[in-house]
């Protein structure tokens, strides 16, 4: 998943697109290493925001990864539980990025 996301981010650089993570790793040192090794450049929330509160629980996430695709108006357009197929993911993302740059709402 990460290599594909990296290429998606690179491909859409300068376009109206952002990949935002919610990361659930618990070992900060190991995470730092892994982020560097895997060249993860996009921003992530820490899933664990306080002792008893995680974003994943707030969002009722039932499996990892879970992905939401949100359009430029902030509307949820697509959801995947588990990794989507690369070609489907690209297609859906690019459709919305295209619509965003044309100023359409759909």
């Amino acid at each position: 998943m990460i290599p594909h996301e990296r290429s998606l981010v690179n491909k859409l650089e300068g376009k109206s697109f952002a990949l935002i993570g919610v990361n659930s790793d618990t070992d900060p040192q190991q995470l730092k290493k892994d982020l560097k090794e895997n060249k993860v450049t996009w921003r992530s929330f820490q899933n664990m925001q306080s002792q008893n509160k995680t974003i994943a629980e707030d969002w009722n996430v039932r499996g990892w990864p879970t992905l939401y695709l949100i359009d430029h108006n902030g509307i949820i357009k697509k959801k995947w539980l588990g990794s989507p197929r690369k070609e489907i993911l690209d297609q859906e993302v690019e459709k919305l990025v295209h619509a965003a740059s044309n100023g359409k709402t759909n």
Binding site: E5, L8, A18, L19, S24, V61, T66
Partner: protein
């Protein structure tokens, strides 16, 4: 098509892929002529005791460091148990224990040298069985996912005898064995072909509720949708129909905006269905409906505000005006 391994993090945390360990199996397995059935039961219970001791220690660990230490020192190593099972099988080739012991090795110690020996032995034995009833009897009770490698030969036997009453149950077994095919194109294709065949030949069977559950989580939603619609229309069993309706709703709710009303209606039909209330399906459907109202397709994404991995505060709405792919992820 295949399922994704949901809850992977949990598996890793529990150390299901054993690499190192400190607990040694009882080496004193005397090769005296004990009852092989009892001997196998002994090995299995010793293994499960070791597993329980490990998971207790893991749960009691308080810090990440302690947990890492437990993973390192206390994770049971399946090798010795697998060797004992293999020996037991080899000593009892004509006992029913033979297959059970080999299957245990594959299910619990798939990466050990013993498994490499056990797999061809098990396949050879399965290949020699011509009677589908006998084949089914052996396969029942064995963990299907551990026997993925044997699935193609079982599929072949069933496909050659589709009129045999045992053919359909065996095909369903093949589907369950290849369900978690990971990245294997061969097993992925076998899973798809077998499901296509079941849906083509046996769509009216009353034991397809499980298949509907699998389709609900398939990574090819368009293919799953096609089969779930057909299952709901053609299958006479209320139980299967309900599972198919739930599965179809689960696929449609993630599809697109125009599919939302149909997904809602289907979840409502599951809640209303008399038989669903017996299982947890109605309860799950209620939760799905609630979820759709808040985070369904077509709804505004709820705000997230929190800290990034460097501890800097930010908000999801900072990115309004851009298309956002929000990914719940981890390296684990």
């Amino acid at each position: 098509m295949r399922l994704f391994a949901i809850g992977l993090a949990a598996c890793v945390a529990l150390g299901l892929s054993a690499q190192s360990g400190g607990i040694r199996a009882d080496d004193k397995a005397k090769q005296a002529k004990t009852d092989p059935v009892k001997e196998l039961a002994t090995i299995q219970s010793e293994w499960s005791n070791a597993q329980q001791a490990f998971s207790k220690a893991y749960q009691e660990a308080k810090t990440d460091d302690e947990r890492r230490q437990v993973l390192k020192d206390k994770r049971p190593k399946p090798d010795a148990f697998a060797d004992r099972c293999l020996k037991l099988a080899e000593a009892n080739p004509d006992s029913p224990v033979y297959m059970e012991a080999l299957a245990w090795v594959l299910a619990n110690a798939g990466r050990t040298p013993a498994a490499k020996t056990a797999l061809p032995k098990l396949k050879e034995k399965l290949a020699a069985i011509t009677d589908l009833s006998a084949l089914r009897k052996i396969l029942i009770g064995m963990q299907p996912s551990a026997l993925m490698e044997a699935a193609p030969l079982v599929a072949e036997k069933a496909k050659k005898n589709l009129d045999d009453p045992q053919a359909a149950p065996l095909l369903i077994w093949v589907a369950s064995a290849t369900l978690y095919s990971g990245n294997s194109a061969v097993f992925s294709k076998l899973y798809n072909d077998i499901v296509d065949l079941i849906m083509d030949r046996f769509v009216e069977r009353d034991d397809l509720a499980e298949l509907a559950d699998w389709l609900a989580m398939d990574d090819d939603p368009a293919w799953a949708e096609k089969h779930l619609r057909r299952l709901r229309d053609k299958n006479p069993s209320e139980v299967v129909k309900t599972h198919a309706a739930y599965g179809l709703a689960a696929v449609l709710k993630n599809k697109d905006e125009t599919s939302q009303p149909e997904a809602e209606k289907l979840f409502e039909s599951v809640i209303a269905s008399a038989n669903a209330s017996k299982g947890d399906l109605a309860e799950k459907a209620k939760k799905e409906l609630d979820e759709m109202k808040v985070r369904g397709i077509g709804k505004p994404a709820p705000e997230i505000s929190g800290s990034d991995l460097d501890g800097k505060a930010f908000k999801l709405s900072d990115y309004k005006g851009k298309v956002v792919l929000l990914d719940f992820w981890g390296f684990w």
